[in-house]
């Protein structure tokens, strides 16, 4: 289990920035295809918040080494990304997407307040302060849907159980102090089974190792910037 204090380090900030960026892109794939109009708008808003958080951190990281946020977002290859692997997984069905969101929201709910209070750098603290409030609202949304679907119809429950089986191995990078308590309280309210905390977990992206999915995601996200370097509009 990693400690939230690691996140003020440069590596920790990169993980956070890349996680927000990659998940934002995944959520944006739901635009015009979400199950209801309201959810289309909700996921779009959440994606936008995550993108803003990623930009704040990437600009800051770029400033240290003299490159722009765009350079970092569009011109790094998969092995240079440090996002938690769960962020790059395909969306699956809506239940899968919203359970992944709960897992990530609970991670960020532990991380942002620590950064807002203790990050040595003023920019990081500022990004985190803003993100604390945005995350609280995202968490309210993902929690409510996990409860509604887990404790819903036979079909919605079946899908949530399947999502839980698929995503639980990816919790390792998210499970900072307090993460299990948050997630388990929502799963319990959703009447979903509680998987073992000590069950097997996937490795992390800390050495540049990724699932096969990140390459495809970046190919789409980066294609325009790479086809027209330096383009503005």
């Amino acid at each position: 289990m990693s400690a939230t204090s690691d996140l003020s380090s440069a590596a920790g900030q990169q993980t956070l920035a890349d996680g927000c960026l990659v998940l934002s892109h995944r959520l944006s794939e739901w635009m015009s295809k979400a199950p209801t109009m309201e959810e289309d708008i909700a996921l779009g808003n959440i994606a936008l918040d995550l993108l803003g958080q990623a930009r704040g951190l990437l600009s800051h990281i770029g400033d240290q080494v003299g490159v722009s946020e765009d350079q970092l977002a569009y011109f790094r290859d998969p092995a240079d990304f440090r996002n938690p692997l769960i962020c790059e997984l395909p969306n699956g069905d809506y239940g899968h997407t919203i359970l992944r969101q709960l897992f990530v929201d609970c991670w960020l709910a532990q991380v942002w307040p620590v950064l807002a209070a203790t990050a040595p750098d003023e920019v990081v603290r500022g990004v985190a302060e803003k993100a604390v409030k945005e995350n609280a609202y995202h968490l309210r949304h993902s929690s409510a849907w996990v409860v509604r679907l887990g404790d819903g119809t036979d079909e919605s429950r079946r899908r949530m159980v399947a999502a839980l089986d698929a995503l639980w191995p990816y919790r390792g990078e998210l499970a900072v102090d307090g993460w299990y308590d948050r997630v388990e309280s929502v799963l319990t309210e959703a009447t979903l089974p509680l998987p073992a905390r000590d069950a097997w977990t996937q490795r992390t992206s800390s050495d540049g190792w990724h699932t096969e999915h990140l390459g495809y995601l970046l190919a789409e996200m980066q294609s325009l910037a790479r086809a027209h370097p330096g383009a503005t509009w």
Partner: protein
């Protein structure tokens, strides 16, 4: 506030928020500081409302444009901390929101943010019988509500 910075504030009060033009950037409370460096140069410090708010860049440009008539050099700076809050909106601003058909944020923000409040009344008919339709609305700062009395939907500016 000196006489010259007062003029700058007056000019800024004419710059509308691109998404809610009923409010100026001053009403919104995002102008944190105005400094006249000398007769030709002015520096304005803004705090964005939302991390990913697409209006932020437009606002910076509009602020620059509004002041360039008067100053040769306009610097727009961004300050992230302390984070923007609806508590920085004036009562006058909240009145303007209501007139624009948007229910203003209700009450003061307390942290940790446990809820975003609820509209006290329908901005169309004034009825207090209202319900939330969706937590996310047409812009990141708003949620979609509906009046049970006149049946009209309306935006609520979330307290945050």
């Amino acid at each position: 506030m000196t006489e010259t910075t007062a003029t700058v504030w007056d000019l800024l009060a004419t710059v509308p928020d691109p998404e809610i033009p009923a409010l100026s950037v001053v009403d919104l409370g995002i102008v944190r500081e105005v400094e006249e460096l000398d007769g030709n140069r002015v520096r304005v410090t803004l705090t964005p409302t939302y991390s990913g708010c697409p209006a932020t860049e437009v606002i910076a440009r509009d602020v620059r444009t509004a002041l360039e008539n008067r100053y040769a050099e306009v610097e727009v700076r961004t300050r992230l901390s302390p984070a923007w809050t609806t508590d920085w909106m004036s009562d006058e601003a909240k009145g303007k929101l209501l007139g624009f058909g948007i229910a203003p944020p209700s009450g003061r923000v307390t942290l940790p943010l446990l809820d975003v409040g609820a509209p006290t009344a329908c901005p169309h008919c004034g009825s207090g019988s209202v319900e939330e339709l969706a937590g996310f609305g047409s812009t990141p700062c708003k949620a979609l509500w509906r009046c049970r009395t006149c049946r009209e939907p309306f935006d609520y500016f979330k307290k945050h």
